[in-house]
């Protein structure tokens, strides 16, 4: 099962390697990872989506992260009210005659065309996991050539 956690860390070089190294050394899987500076430039915020079979593994991930000297706090969003979003960009096959059909998707699903030329449209969308999933299923009908995702961002309510 996938769990979203956030980690506040010291904004120093090597900290990302410490966190990433911990996951690989202990055999935990990172599904996605997003990192950026916070309002306080000495602190970075990481949103990590992890694969954990059970509570015990999640608890270990939490404790092991806390053990890293540069980790300030760890928040597990599994049982905590939060908002999460992900941004995706997708290249889909496109011809001008499809335009109306493609745009009709966006009545129901998040997203918009940000560029279209030479048989390819680039779509961007920001949404929660269900919204993104729904959109991608619709886009599949057109043929998705390339897909990039930021990974999940989460913030406590």
């Amino acid at each position: 099962m996938r769990h979203t956690i956030s980690v506040l860390v010291e904004n120093k070089f090597g900290v990302l390697a410490r966190v990433a190294g911990l996951f690989s050394a202990r055999g935990y899987n990172i599904a996605s990872l997003a990192v950026s500076e916070t309002l306080d430039p000495s602190i970075s915020y990481m949103t990590i989506v992890v694969e954990a079979q059970d509570e015990k593994i999640l608890e270990q991930i939490n404790k092991q992260l806390n053990k890293l000297i540069d980790v300030i706090t760890v928040t597990d969003f599994t049982k905590k009210a939060h908002i999460d979003r992900e941004m995706v960009m997708a290249k889909v096959e496109y011809s001008p005659k499809d335009k109306a059909k493609l745009e009709s998707i966006f009545d129901k699903y998040v997203g918009k065309i940000i560029k279209a030329k030479a048989g390819i449209a680039i779509i961007e969308a920001v949404g929660d996991q269900a919204q993104i999933k729904g959109l991608l299923e619709q886009l599949d009908k057109f043929g998705v050539k390339e897909l990039v995702r930021t990974g999940r961002l989460a913030i406590a309510e």
Binding site: G14, A17, K63, N66, K67, I69, V71
Partner: protein, 554 residues
């Protein structure tokens, strides 16, 4: 001051009296300042020896050990020693030179990404790129290495930083917002634990190295005696409680005593203190201690509930928590029946070996105990020698048994003995070694002789890499694949280094040789030519429940 001067001044202020290490191109500025320093420097013959010696010094004293090496190969040679200290939670400071800051990342001569390499095997590490941060980094490194669950901290210092000049400012003990070890237990949890203890019928104390690093051995003894609960310990917990005490069951686990393993399997309450339920202790985890509730006291929250289900977790320092528990336990459990049962196991499954035929390694270890009365510091290598040293010598004081527990590093014992001897020159220090292990850091014989670090090495020479041979005998149909190992003539070898060598082949010669070795004012190698295919028993095969014991039983 230059960076090199700041380093040495900072080490002095941290109370460092001795360092172990090896010079090289990127630590020349530090060595130039060492020339005038009153910090004692022991030049080892290999950086691995320096790391293990610093580790041995730390285990013997409780103070952080310090080792120093140059960049690249000097630093990578420290790696095994650092990992070893990390697995056993030993406070250690490793200082490495690094290529000049502007060359970092250029694949410069003798460059290695040492902070990258040591990230997973240190408690924390630093690359100091600015001399202004050097003093505060060293202060922080010592604080981190010695607080909470101790561990090794590495400081990588580029040679231009060692030469750079700045004002020396010795900072206060740092406040680190992201690092706040817990020392006191949660009062509610301690109350609950006290009640569980009072209500138990078959309690057992399961002790690990955390009791020793916390300095909680006195409190532990009061707790054990007031509960009248039997105790067992891990390899790292040896010495935390007197081995000759009537409540002691000795070590548990793969090569633990049968009675310790039966006792923990049949217990209804395990009080684990500073131990981490390692696989060598628990055996098959789903069969481990099926009737027991578990109270787990540990300073590292990540050790709790990692391997076994815990009923009452208590994070904090062992010494404080035992003290708090003693106040909260209103009524000691009635363990009369339980102790009778344990006594029956002790009678039924005593530790034993067949003392006939060739000289037996167990006999040698027993005689070292009889000679020293448990007053020596014993270090071990890894393998059969280590298990026999753990089983056949009674340790009554903390920090008198020094052994590589978690990592299981062959070649540890000899340089570790050196470190312990430097800390306590007046004490007798024995390295109980195998003929395989001793060859792994045998170059340190030169260090011992040159610096008059007169340790005594008892080589249990069976001509095999004995523990691997034992596994091949028991589990691989006696197909001895590359375990017969040749060795030099240890007597001549010792003599060629300026040390003393003694060979013993008969039982009658053992005591005399040990007495002679103890008296000689020199480093001594005693080559005990022992039975080649002796096994370490009792033994629980890997993956079996720890009461499925083979060998050595009545």
């Amino acid at each position: 001051m230059t960076g090199a001067e700041i380093l040495l001044e900072s080490l002095k202020r941290e109370g460092v009296e001795v360092m172990f290490g090896y010079p090289g191109g990127q630590v020349l500025p530090i060595f130039d300042k060492l020339y005038d320093s009153d910090i004692k420097f022991i030049l080892t013959r290999h950086e691995q020896g320096a790391a293990h010696a610093a580790d041995g010094y730390a285990r013997a004293t409780g103070k952080p050990g310090v080792c120093l090496a140059t960049s690249g190969p000097g630093a990578t040679n420290l790696v095994t020693g650092i990992a070893n200290a990390c697995m056993d939670s030993i406070p250690m400071i490793a200082i490495t030179g690094q290529v000049k800051t502007f060359l970092i990342g250029n694949d410069a001569f003798q460059e290695a990404d040492v902070t990258g390499i040591t990230r997973p095997i240190t408690k924390h590490n630093y690359l100091v790129k600015d001399v202004k941060e050097l003093a505060s980094t060293i202060r922080e490194a010592f604080y981190i290495a010695t607080s909470g669950r101790p561990g090794p901290v590495l400081i990588d210092i580029p040679s231009d930083v060692q030469l750079a000049d700045t004002e020396f400012i010795w900072p206060e003990v740092p406040e680190i917002r992201s690092y706040k070890p817990t020392y006191f237990g949660h009062p509610g949890q301690i109350k609950k634990a006290a009640k569980l203890i009072s209500d138990s019928k078959r309690p057992i104390l399961y002790i690990g190295g955390g009791v020793i690093s916390s300095g909680a051995h006195k409190e532990l003894r009061i707790l054990a005696e007031s509960l009248k609960a039997p105790l067992t310990w891990t390899l790292m917990g040896i010495g935390a409680f007197p081995g000759d005490h009537e409540l002691s069951l000795g070590m548990l686990g793969m090569h633990g005593t049968a009675y310790a393993n039966h006792a923990i399997m049949e217990s209804d309450l395990i009080i684990a203190i500073g131990a981490r339920f390692d696989d060598r202790v628990t055996g098959r985890i789903d069969a481990f201690a099926p009737h027991a509730k578990v109270i787990h006291i540990d300073i590292d929250p990540s050790s709790i509930s990692k391997n076994v289900r815990v009923d009452i977790p208590i994070g904090g320092d062992a010494k404080n928590i035992i003290g708090e528990l003693l106040e909260q336990i209103k009524k000691a459990p009635d363990t009369t029946e339980w102790l009778k049962t344990v006594e029956l196991w002790k009678k039924k499954y005593p530790m034993k070996y067949k003392d006939e035929g060739k000289l037996k390694p167990q006999y040698v270890v027993e005689e070292i105990y009889n000679l020293t009365k448990g007053d020596a510091i014993i270090t071990t290598e890894v393998g059969q020698n280590q298990m026999w040293a753990a089983q056949w010598y009674k340790y009554n004081h903390p920090r008198t048994f020094i052994s590589s527990g978690g990592l299981g590093t062959m070649g540890f014992g000899f340089p570790a003995a050196m470190g312990a001897k430097v800390a306590y020159p007046e004490k007798l220090v024995f390295d109980i070694a195998g003929d395989g292990s001793i060859q792994m850091n045998i170059q340190e014989l030169a260090t011992c002789v040159a610096n008059k670090i007169h340790v005594k090495v008892a080589i249990l020479n069976n001509g095999y890499l004995g523990m691997v041979r034992q596994w091949q005998e028991l589990f691989y149909k006696r197909r001895y694949s590359h375990v017969a190992i040749t060795a030099p003539d240890f007597v001549k070898l010792a003599e060629s280094f300026g040390a003393v060598g003694i060979r013993v082949t008969k039982k009658e010669e053992v005591r005399g040789a040990l007495e002679k070795a103890a008296k000689i004012d020199n480093t001594v190698f005693i080559d005990f030519v022992v039975e080649g295919e002796e096994n370490v028993y009792p033994m629980v095969p890997a993956g079996k429940a720890i009461n499925e014991i083979i060998g050595g039983l009545a």
